[in-house]
Symmetry: C2
Amino acid sequence: MTKQKKVILDILRHTDSHPTADWIYAQARKVLPDISLGTVYRNLGVLKEAGEIMELNYGSTYSRYDGNPENHYHCVCLNCGRIIDLPMPVHYELEKEAANSGCSKILYHRLEFYGLCPDCQQKEEH
Amino acid sequence: MTKQKKVILDILRHTDSHPTADWIYAQARKVLPDISLGTVYRNLGVLKEAGEIMELNYGSTYSRYDGNPENHYHCVCLNCGRIIDLPMPVHYELEKEAANSGCSKILYHRLEFYGLCPDCQQKEEH
DNA sequence: GTAGTTGCAAACTTTTTGCTACCCA
DNA sequence: TGGGTAGCAAAAAGTTTGCAACTAC
């Protein structure tokens, strides 16, 4: 665990904003001004492999990262692009159903809802 | 509707392989040898906007396209990368639940299962 | 001491874009 | 004849990689 990796993990653990690699890089530079973008990507890859974080790619050309490795569901705002964690229970029974529909050996599933986040919804009402 | 757009839509409507832009380009060139990759991308974008097709990006650096614009669920094989359609019903009640958890104005949702496809599952057993 | 990691920069992949020419209603 | 597309090639955007120097243990 190098200090670079620690800083990156720290940043992800202390935000719920599902940031991009670039944003993480910018934050990390505030602590380690000489850190490089390559190192950020390398460590994000290592942390992902280790199951410490998750990589999300919901309808974008770039990835976002999630410091919470437990399965949980997301709301993706089609207006501002924000990704919000949803405090709803994970429906493992869906995996049984999918298995019966022809998907063998399911390890996990992902569920995202696309719409408007509360902020954008409110703005639209004005 | 130019002939290029028609060919691209035709290719997508007649496969269930969720192909990449590159694969579509290769197929299209068999019919229209002078078609360019830029045109493929442009038309995929237009068709997506028109709701004729869907763009999928499940854990890859590149997108795949789905000629079936109706919401349905997928099984992503972690071994061979294949994406399979699942003939299970769409659970719209999940959207109600998500709305109650803080996601306003939900337009649609996506659900994917990650695991092994029947082929890879079988190979693993040997 | 050394195995693994960094910073840097160049390379790579996928997708987008600018431009001129073309096609067809 | 003119508005919308195509083809081409160059550029953009995001990510990965090779390498010499450096770190952490």
